[in-house]
């Protein structure tokens, strides 16, 4: 059967620009890509390619980002004040001084936590409805 055309709802989240407000909820829900990026840099700062590989490993290849998607997402996170680009590295012992490293801002950490809690709540809800069985 042919599918009827349904206008695509605009799923993009308009990201508020005012950083003074600390209403975490306005950042939620995060897009999957944004959440994965924040997860990837949660424990240590990483550069773009490392973020990409980390996400690919963490999702067992289910999420393969290309440079465009990755950096657009990074750009939005930076603009929203959730992620920051660290100044160019000078320590030569780090693997590559030339690269740009990213780390979450304090706000970014809190938003990631809030997102994780939100997802956990959803998972719990799914379990209570027997959609998901305990491992």
């Amino acid at each position: 059967m042919p599918k009827a055309y349904m206008p695509q709802a605009n799923r993009e989240q308009t990201v508020a620009k005012t950083r003074s407000t600390v209403d975490i909820d306005q950042y939620l829900p995060l897009t999957p890509v944004a959440f994965e990026i924040l997860l990837a840099v949660a424990e240590e700062e990483r550069h773009g390619y490392a973020i990409m590989q980390d996400i690919e490993d963490a999702t067992e290849g289910a999420m393969r980002l290309n440079p465009g998607t990755l950096y657009r997402a990074i750009g939005r996170l930076v603009d929203a004040g959730l992620l920051e680009e660290l100044p160019a590295r000078e320590a030569p012992d780090l693997e590559d001084a030339r690269r740009r490293y990213y780390a979450p801002t304090p706000l970014g950490k809190r938003v990631a936590e809030a997102e994780a809690r939100r997802l956990a709540a959803q998972v719990a809800a799914a379990r209570s409805k027997k959609l998901l069985r305990r491992a």
């Binding site: 599918k3 055309y5 620009k17 550069h47 465009g68 998607t69 657009r72």
Partner: protein, 915 residues
């Protein structure tokens, strides 16, 4: 880490990605472009290590889609952000349009993602058309459109003359005209004269012969350029020889290592010390030449008697002066030149001597304009063919989506909304193809520059610049709209009821579509035929040029080189050049494998020619008549034997003639026929250049030579000994700079070079060799414009025929698929396989015939613009037309053969059950 691996394939991929990144908004690219490229490089590196080079290629292809999706999203995002930040009260309509465009583009991208093969095939086809057009446009832009690299280039003009009475369409400056215009003009801000030559540089390092330009003091001020180091020529020292010399930036770097202390040092030119006074700026180019040295060209007033057009005139118009006014002013000054004893008013009248002031750019560009515009037009046709193919693809898809569209219409989508969706798809596809085409163009431009004739001017100015980008975007949009419009016009308003009915097909829309698609296939074949005929005409021209007897034989066996004997090397005055030349020729003749050697002041097709007036004793002219002007050359050794120019009567010039200064000469057959009607009758007759010369006896007549290129008539030429007395105003005239011709039995004359060098340097180690090449190279150079056009048109025609074949194949296959049921019925009712095959082939033949008829008619009109490029063949050459038409007919029948066989193989039971 991965990014340290820099295999060539990865490097290419990274360059490709960097090009693709241009699709992103500038701000985004600036911020993340480098990092994205690095990440892409890492990923390609690891893909290459794991899966080899094909994985890198796959990454490149995938990157196209990725970048286009993300870049368009980013553009839209940027658009929104500006809307949010800069206009708090957003203008409703623009916001709505942006929103709607976003939805359309997204939807288009999603449909492509669902049907990637369709998208890739359509994109590659278009990419081919757009890329080829961008490449050609890059050349057209660099050579023809971009202004000359000087200040206010539109005010720069070349000042020349017309002289139809002398048989010249364009004559440059003689001393008298230069002196007159310099002092009397009212329209030029600066007026100068220049000429090219070569000088030998000796002293430090190897001796070398370099290109030099002699310029009067006003040439640089007309161009508004001054040396970046040092200064230009001072008026007071113009006449000094030796005087000052200005180096080009490149030569300064090469010979002097860019040493700024070079000013004031001396350089040995023709074994005389000249003082270096300046270095030109790095980006300066003298018109389309690249001379190493600029020397002062001083034309004294007493040179005003010399009737020789040796200088090119260059001027800058005063602000507000038009070309017309400049021409009128030169016309006013022409009679004033008769003040000098070079010509009488009657001469000027007889010559019909007139002004020819034209834009300097016309001189720089030369006659390649026609070639490039023709190629540009022809590749435009290729793009149209590609568009027709993609339009066909869109038709097929639109047909398949008829029901989807009907549903959307039924649900309330307006006709405009659906049309917009179709157009969004085609325009997005066009832009995709444009970006890919730009990549193709970069490769194509390199190929073009490589193939281009050596005399194509401004080659180094051919680059992809914003104009090219703009052009590509324009062409992509145009292409997207052209093929997008066809389905829109036909499916924009579907019949909802028929479309929704199960199995609903064969409606009137279908038949109309068949007609349109057939028309597209016919157009494609017609355009392909035009291109085929165009390249056919070039092939015929090339063959005609090849078959022209240049006047000499077996040029591939002859090595040529240029030697100039510096004045200082010569003992006992300039006649010392004669024994040195003789020694060199004798040593060259002793080289094993050499059969004969000779020398001449200029070789055929070398572009170096001398002209002078002549008087013939048997045909005196009175003062009121103009003296005819003819080519002349000075020769030595066995020149005619080495060139294999046949001796028709009498004898050649001997060393005895040269040493004894005998007043003798040899003329070409057409010269002899012009005056005496027969070569033998010319022997013993006497000619001279002007009234003060000694009369010279014609002792031999030789065959005509196509001196100005095989595509031009052979001029009449007089050959003089290399040393003559009482000649053209000189007591003694000796050629010191000559081209040597060495004929050898060896299969590869260039292999002689080490021994030839040894032979020359055994006579004098200070002599630089220049222009070493075979005589064949000179002939090939004369054919280069034709062969370049031929190759380019050949490429265009090949692509066109290929796309046209795909087009007709697509249409016929589609029709067969549509008619499977009908064919099944026919066969069930007793039609034979051969009947079915014939039916399909007949359909294909009809399309082919339509294409041929329209193509022939179009070719008659379009090939006329090529007439300037043709030689020995008319634009309406019946053989070429017939061959082209036959090829298109055969190709279209072949293209239909496969679908015809498929139709004949239809199993009636299967076909009927299928429904």
């Amino acid at each position: 880490m991965a990014h340290h691996t820099s295999s060539p394939s990865v490097a290419v991929a990274v360059a490709w990605y960097a090009l693709l990144l241009r699709a992103y908004p500038v701000s985004f690219r600036r911020q993340y472009g480098t990092q994205m490229t690095e990440v892409f490089e890492d990923r390609c590196g690891s893909a290459r290590r794991r899966h080899g080079r094909s994985a890198v290629a796959a990454s490149c292809l995938a990157a196209v889609g990725e970048v286009l999706v993300n870049a368009s999203k980013e553009h839209i995002g940027a658009l929104r952000r500006t809307r949010h930040t800069t206009t708090p009260q957003p203008r409703k309509s623009s916001a709505r349009i942006a929103e709607a465009a976003l939805t359309d583009v997204r939807f288009a991208l999603r449909t492509f993602a669902k049907n990637p093969i369709f998208a890739v095939v359509a994109m590659l086809t278009l990419c081919l058309g757009i890329g080829a057009n961008s490449a050609i446009f890059t050349v057209v832009n660099g050579v023809l459109l971009r202004p000359l690299p000087y200040d206010r280039p539109e005010d720069l003009v070349a000042v020349a003359h017309t002289a139809p009475g002398l048989g010249y369409s364009r004559l440059p400056q003689a001393p008298a005209t230069y002196l007159t215009y310099r002092d009397e003009n009212r329209v030029f801000e600066a007026f100068g004269a220049w000429s090219r030559s070569r000088v030998s540089v000796t002293g430090s390092g190897d001796p070398e012969l370099v290109d030099a330009v002699w310029i009067t003091e006003d040439v640089l001020s007309a161009l508004r350029v001054q040396p970046s180091i040092g200064h230009g020529f001072a008026t007071a020292t113009m006449a000094d020889v030796p005087g000052g010399v200005i180096l080009s930036h490149g030569y300064w770097q090469r010979r002097f290592g860019g040493d700024a202390a070079v000013i004031g040092r001396t350089v040995q030119l023709n074994l005389v010390s000249w003082e270096i006074v300046g270095v030109m700026p790095e980006d300066f180019r003298f018109l389309h030449y690249e001379p190493s040295l600029y020397l002062p060209n001083y034309i004294p007033a007493d040179a005003g008697s010399i009737r020789s057009f040796d200088y090119q005139g260059i001027a800058r118009l005063r602000p507000g002066v038009s070309l017309d006014e400049a021409n009128r002013d030169v016309a006013r000054m022409i009679p004033l030149t008769a003040e000098f004893p070079w010509a009488t008013a009657a001469d000027l009248d007889e010559w019909r001597f007139g002004p020819d002031v034209h834009p300097l750019k016309a001189d720089v560009v030369g006659d390649v304009g026609t070639v490039l515009w023709v190629l540009f037009g022809m590749f435009g046709l290729v793009l149209l063919i590609a568009c027709a193919n993609v339009a066909n693809l869109f038709f097929v898809r639109a047909e398949a989506r008829q029901r989807e569209i009907a549903v959307r219409t039924a649900m309330g989508a307006s006709r405009g909304r659906i049309a917009r969706q179709f157009l969004a798809e085609s325009v997005v596809l066009g832009l995709f193809a444009g970006v890919a085409g730009l990549g193709l163009a970069q490769v194509g431009v390199r190929l073009l520059v490589h193939l281009a004739p050596a005399n194509l001017p401004r080659l180094d100015e051919i680059t992809i610049d914003p104009a090219v980008l703009l052009f590509t975007v324009g062409v992509s949009l145009f292409a997207g709209l052209v093929f997008g419009l066809f389905p829109v016009l036909h499916y924009g308003n579907p019949n909802v009821v028929t479309a929704l009915k199960e199995g609903g097909r064969g409606s009137s829309v279908g038949r109309q579509t068949h007609r349109l698609r057939t028309a597209l296939a016919v157009t494609q074949l017609a355009l392909a035929l035009v291109l085929l005929i165009g390249s056919g005409l070039m092939i015929r021209s090339f063959r005609a040029l090849k078959s022209v007897d240049p006047g000499f034989d077996r040029p591939q066996e002859v090595l040529t080189l240029r030697l100039a004997i510096p004045r200082r090397e010569i003992l006992r005055g300039q006649e010392g050049a004669v024994p040195i030349t003789e020694q060199i020729l004798r040593r060259l003749a002793e080289v094993p494998g050499v059969t004969s050697v000779g020398a001449a002041s200029g070789l055929p097709m070398e572009g170096a020619t001398n002209t002078n007036s002549i008087q013939v004793e048997d045909f005196p002219i009175d003062g009121s008549q103009a003296m005819p002007v003819r080519y002349y050359k000075a020769i030595a050794g066995d020149y005619f034997a080495a060139m294999e120019i046949p001796l028709l009567a009498g004898r050649s010039i001997t060393w005895d003639d040269i040493y004894q200064r005998r007043p003798v000469g040899v003329v070409t057959e057409n010269f002899a026929r012009e005056y005496w009607g027969n070569p033998a009758l010319a022997l013993g007759k006497r000619i001279r250049h002007n009234a003060t010369d000694a009369w010279r006896e014609i002792v031999g007549v030789v065959g005509n030579v196509h001196d100005r290129g095989v595509d031009e008539d052979a001029p009449s030429v007089m050959y003089w000994p290399m040393a003559v007395e009482n000649f053209a105003g000189f007591d003694l005239w000796v050629r010191r700079s000559m081209s040597y011709v060495i004929r050898t039995a060896r299969p590869n004359p260039s292999s002689l070079l080490p021994e030839v060098r040894q032979a020359v340097w055994s006579v004098n180690p200070n002599l630089p060799l220049a222009n070493v090449r075979t005589l064949d190279d000179l002939v090939a150079g004369s054919l280069s414009r034709t062969s370049f056009t031929l190759v380019m048109l050949g490429i265009a025609a090949t692509v066109a025929v290929f796309l046209g074949t795909v087009g007709i194949y697509g249409v016929i296959s589609y029709i067969v698929a549509q008619r499977t049921k009908e064919i099944g019925v026919r066969m069930a009712l007793g039609a034979q396989q051969s009947d079915v095959r014939r039916m399909v082939l007949r359909h294909g033949a009809a399309i082919g015939a339509g294409g041929v008829i329209i193509g022939l008619a179009a070719a008659v009109g379009l090939t006329r613009v090529m007439s300037a490029l043709l030689f020995g063949v008319r634009p309406a050459d019946p053989v070429t037309y017939a061959a082209g038409a036959a090829s298109v007919a055969v190709v279209s029948l072949l293209a239909c053969y496969i679908p015809a066989r498929r139709a004949a193989a239809v199993d009636p039971l299967e076909a009927l059950r299928w429904e």
